[in-house]
Amino acid sequence: MSGRVLALAGVLAVLGVLPVAAPQVVVVHATDILIFVLFALSLNLLVGYAGMLSLGHAAFFSIGGYGAGLLVKHLGVAMPLALAAGPLLAALAALVIGFFCVRLSHAYFIMLSLAFGQLVFTVIWKWQGVTGGDDGLTGVMPLAALAPSSAYYYFVLAVVLACTAALYRIGHSPFGRALLAIKDNPRRAAFVGIHVRRVQLAAFVVAGAFAGVAGALQVFFHRGMFPGSAHWLNSADAFVAVTLGGVSYFAGPIVGAALFKLVSLAVPLFTAYWPFFLGIVILLVALFRPEGLLSLVRRPAARP
């Protein structure tokens, strides 16, 4: 127990002093990694807890970002308000889409989630007048105080830490236990009195909301958002991240997302064939550590 606490304290300490100790480049990349970590954690609420493999999760990430961005750019809304509104819009979308998706299971669920994700992608791409289409929504500025890299980094760090803590609490709550029960055996869960569809929908909405937070952080980070953020390949990236780390561990998505980003960052400096090497890494983990990389450190628990 104390080992874990020490490790956690160590990580937090490093994250805390990063802007002071490391060059600005590192801070920019660290911000990017933190945002992706949040996105991956939100997906794991569905994958790891509820056993719902969504390949359309990027849609909510994207809606969160576009929602916040459009409010700031076209309606002049202040950043804090937009930052809250983005995730709300994402949650709303998750409610609608989730309503249809949770009625399906297994492979059909995966494909319907993918279909809806691509429909969101299409809407963003085609609605050029509002979203900017494939040229993207650009010129979305954060508050002047948060514009410098270090300032924005601390902001993202604070939000991501808060969301991580929240997701941890959610996971260890009765709601989280209900999700695990459903994942384990839906029929038995229903028998015990859990309203399966309702709980699954709630998980879908909560996961979508947190993905929306990540998206909102992204739009101010990059000063804009692009339709590719809603594409199923972006969902697949998050999916790879959570499975790389291990879906049965709370920290699995964190480790997986960080590793995924680091490989995507470092390898292109040496070769244009970085997807090949990323694929090899994924393959090795899938073959030799299917429980995820964290299984090197700890045995997988029954629950994250």
Binding site: A115, Q118, T122, W125, T243, P275, G279, I282, P290
Partner: protein, 290 residues
């Protein structure tokens, strides 16, 4: 007249889609694996078709030669993939099974880039075919007849294979009830390898046949696998007749959709898939999983 023309062009698209989707639906129906790398096999086959035109440049029958050889190569690759990768992870969660298929997409795309470069390639139509076939006033290249014929032949061949051979009985048994089949002593492992090989062969045939039309281009893998999954899901996972029906449906939706709402062509297949899954959650001819 336009309607007739669009029906014909829809048929052509449907043939390729069926070849592509049938392998995928087989893999899912029998082995319960969602093979996201299926489109990669298709793309590899298109590049092999291009390579074939260079390799057998002297012979006029080079296309037919490639059509025979390339699917066999891909069948072998499929079997290899099953033996080396999937065999190890059947016990694992379905989400872990998705990982190696995603990895293969990355790996093969770069291998193809390394060998053939970044530029797309065209593949010549096979020689020795008669000129255009005039249908409803429009001269269709006679090659299109080859595609439709090939699609029909493969569909018939698959039907025979699955419903009229011993191997087919075993395949259907495993698809229907895996545990019972194992209890009856059916050698699943050999069947699984065979299914992956057959799926590879089908993807290979689809790729070579589509190459003279669509050429070989990086990025075809992702488009192909999405198309294949849409057809498979709309038809019902694991159902070959469903795949045939869905392929026709998707082909027609594309053909007629561009007449009615051309601006939303990029959304057709996803809207169709969403619609079918909402109304019929297990696809048109799919069965609810026990």
């Amino acid at each position: 007249m336009l309607i007739g023309l669009q029906i014909v062009s829809g048929l052509v698209s449907a043939a390729i889609l069926f070849l592509l989707a049938s392998g995928l639906t087989l893999i899912f129906g029998v082995c319960r694996v969602l093979n996201l790398a299926h489109g990669t096999f298709f793309m590899l086959a298109t590049f092999l078709a291009y390579a074939g035109t260079l390799l057998f440049a002297d012979t006029s029958a080079n296309f037919w030669l490639t059509l025979v050889l390339a699917p066999l190569v891909l069948a072998g690759l499929g079997a290899l993939m099953e033996l080396a990768l999937f065999r190890r992870i059947y016990r694992a969660d379905v989400l872990v099974q998705l990982l190696p298929t995603i990895a293969l997409i990355f790996i093969f795309a770069d291998v193809i880039r390394f060998i053939w470069g970044l530029e797309s390639k065209t593949v010549p139509f096979p020689g020795g075919l008669p000129g255009a076939i005039v249908v409803l006033g429009v001269p269709f290249p006679s090659y299109y007849a080859v595609i439709v014929l090939a699609g029909a032949l493969v569909a018939a061949g698959l039907w025979v294979l699955v419903y009229r051979t011993r191997w087919g009985i075993l395949v259907r048994a495993i698809a229907q009830d895996r545990d019972m089949s194992a209890a009856l002593g059916i050698n699943e492992r050999a069947i699984y390898t065979g299914v992956f090989a057959l799926a590879g062969w089908l993807a290979g045939a689809a790729g070579v046949l589509s190459a003279p039309l669509a050429g070989a281009a990086l990025g075809n893998d992702v488009d192909a696998v999405i198309d294949a999954f849409v057809v498979v899901v709309v038809g019902g996972l694991g159902s070959i007749p469903g795949a045939l029906l869905a392929a026709l449906l998707v082909g027609m939706v594309r053909s007629f959709g561009i007449l009615v709402i051309p601006q939303f062509a990029m959304a057709f297949v996803f809207a169709l898939m969403a619609l079918v899954l909402i109304v019929r959650p297990t696809g048109l001819l799919g069965r609810r999983e026990s």
